[in-house]
C-alpha cells in the first residue's frame, strides 16, 4: 500500500501550495505528529489518523505566517496611505469635527442580515460649530439629554429608517435643523424668566438688590454723603461678594466657595470680629 504523502514531504517545501485555502484537516497531508482527544486510562491522546476532533475544529493551516505575508504583499497595492498631516487626535478633531459611528455585523446563520446594522451615531463638538451665545444655549435646551457638558459633545443616534444611508441622511438633516432653529429668535423667548437661565447672573437679581439696599441703609445711618449705586457696585467689597455668590450658585457648595463667601460677607458688613 502507498505510504502517506506526509512521509515524502521535504522540510523546505512550499506549504502554501499544500494548503492554499481553508480545508479540512487531512492527516496524510500534514507531516506533524499531532495527538488530540481525551486519553484512555493510562494512555495517551489518540493519534491523528481517523481523528474526528482534529477534523471538527477549524484549523489555520492555510494561514501560516509566510502565507499571510504573501497575501498581504499582493493586497498592498490596493491600500492607500493615511495622510501624514493628521497624526494626532486633536488635528483630526480640528479639521474633521464630525464623527460618524456605524457597526457592521458578520456571523454565520440562516441570514446574513442584522437589524442592528442600520444604527448610525453622529458626534460633534459644539465648539466647532458656528454658534453664538444665544444659539448655543438654545441648542443645548433643544437637544436635552444628547449633550454632554463635560466633553462638550453632541451625540445624535438615529435608528428610525430601515437603511443605514437613510439614517445617516436623517442625522445630518437633524443637525441642520437644530443649527438653524437655534439661530432663530422667537418672540416668546423674550419672556425667559430666572428659572429658565442656565447659569446664575448677578446683575438684576435679588442678591444684588438686597446687598445694595443694606449698604445704602448702613451709609444712611452713618450719615455719610449720598453714595450712588454705581459707586457701590464698583467698590471692591461688592465685587468680592458678587464673585463669591456667583461661584456658590454655579459651581455648588465646596469648602473653598463657602469660605470665600464668608470672607466677602464679613468685609461687606464690616464685621471682622467673627
Amino acid at each position: 500500500h502507498v505510504p502517506p504523502r506526509a512521509e515524502r514531504m521535504t522540510v523546505d517545501q512550499d506549504w502554501t501550495s499544500v494548503y492554499p485555502t481553508a480545508a479540512a484537516f487531512k492527516p496524510a497531508s500534514v507531516p506533524l505528529p499531532i495527538r488530540m482527544g481525551y486519553p484512555v486510562k493510562r494512555g495517551v491522546p489518540p493519534p491523528k489518523e481517523g481523528n474526528l476532533e482534529l477534523i471538527k475544529i477549524p484549523n489555520f493551516l492555510h494561514l501560516t505566517p509566510p502565507a499571510i505575508k504573501k497575501h498581504c504583499a499582493a493586497l498592498k497595492d490596493f491600500c492607500t496611505e493615511w495622510p501624514n498631516a493628521l497624526d494626532s487626535d486633536e488635528k483630526c478633531e480640528q479639521h474633521f469635527p464630525i464623527e460618524i459611528e456605524t457597526v457592521d455585523y458578520v456571523s454565520s446563520g440562516t441570514s446574513i442580515r442584522n437589524p442592528q446594522a442600520r444604527v448610525v451615531t453622529l458626534r460633534v463638538k459644539l465648539s466647532n460649530l458656528n454658534l453664538d451665545e444665544h444659539a448655543k444655549k438654545k441648542l443645548i435646551k433643544l437637544v436635552g439629554e444628547r449633550y454632554c457638558k463635560d466633553t462638550d459633545m453632541l451625540t445624535i443616534t438615529t435608528d428610525r429608517c430601515p437603511l443605514r444611508r437613510q439614517n445617516y441622511d436623517y442625522g445630518i438633516h437633524l443637525l441642520t435643523v437644530l443649527y438653524h432653529e437655534s439661530w432663530k429668535t422667537e418672540m416668546w423667548e423674550s419672556e425667559k424668566t430666572e428659572e429658565d437661565m442656565e447659569e446664575y447672573i448677578w446683575e438684576n437679581s435679588c442678591s444684588q438688590k438686597n446687598a445694595l439696599d443694606t449698604l445704602l441703609r448702613i451709609k444712611a445711618s452713618e450719615n455719610v454723603s449720598n453714595v450712588t449705586k454705581e459707586e457701590l457696585l464698583a467698590s471692591e467689597v461688592v465685587k468680592n461678594y458678587r464673585n463669591s455668590v456667583i461661584a456658590l450658585k454655579n459651581e455648588g457648595e465646596t469648602e473653598n466657595n463657602v469660605s470665600q463667601y464668608k470672607e466677602s460677607v464679613k468685609k461687606l458688613l464690616n464685621i471682622q470680629a467673627l
Partner: protein
C-alpha cells in the same frame, strides 16, 4: 481574495501602475479614525490563532494596531428538565461560553479599511462572529457653516429655511 478588484485605490504616483487590477477614482477617500473589531467565539484557542493572524495582517498592510484586549468571557446557563415527562427533581444544566477578543486599529483610509476587512472577514473561521465598529471622520457639511438666511441674497421677505 487574491484577485479581488477594488475601486478607489492609489498606487505609486511616480511609476505607472504595473498592477492592471488597481483602478484610481477621483472621489476623496473616506477617513476612519478608529476601527474596532470584536470577535466572538466558543473556543479560546481558535480565537487566539485568529488574533495572531489579524495582528500580523494589520502589521503587513501597515495599519497601526492601538491595542488588543480580551474582554472577560460570558457564560449563559440553562437548567432544563432531564426527562420528557414528570421527574421534576432531576434536571440537566447546559452552558454556552462566549470568548471575546477586541482589536482596536487606528487611522485607516477607506480603501485600506475595505481591503483589510475583506481579507480578515473572508478568513473568519466557522463558528466565529465579528462586530466591526467604524468611526468615520468628516468635515462639517457646507450648509451648516452659516445659517442659510445669511447666505441668501438680501430679499425683503427672506424665506426662513428650516
Amino acid at each position: 481574495l487574491m484577485g479581488a478588484r477594488l475601486a478607489g485605490s492609489h498606487a505609486d504616483t511616480q511609476e505607472p501602475n504595473t498592477n492592471p487590477l488597481v483602478s484610481i477614482s477621483d472621489e476623496p477617500e473616506t477617513l476612519y479614525k478608529r476601527l474596532s473589531l470584536l470577535v466572538k467565539g466558543h473556543d479560546k484557542a481558535v480565537l487566539d490563532s485568529y488574533e495572531y493572524f489579524a495582528v500580523l495582517a494589520a502589521k503587513e498592510l501597515g495599519i497601526s494596531v492601538e491595542k488588543v484586549h480580551k474582554p472577560p468571557k460570558t457564560i449563559e446557563r440553562l437548567t432544563l428538565l432531564k426527562s420528557v415527562h414528570i421527574y421534576k427533581k432531576h434536571r440537566v444544566q447546559y452552558e454556552m461560553r462566549t470568548h471575546y477578543i477586541c482589536l482596536e486599529l487606528k487611522y485607516l483610509t477607506g480603501s485600506t479599511a475595505a481591503v483589510y476587512l475583506e481579507y480578515v472577514q473572508r478568513n473568519l473561521p466557522e463558528g466565529v462572529a465579528m462586530e466591526v465598529k467604524k468611526t468615520k471622520i468628516e468635515k462639517i457639511p457646507e450648509h451648516i457653516q452659516e445659517p442659510v438666511w445669511d447666505t441668501l441674497p438680501p430679499v425683503e421677505e427672506a424665506e426662513v429655511k428650516s
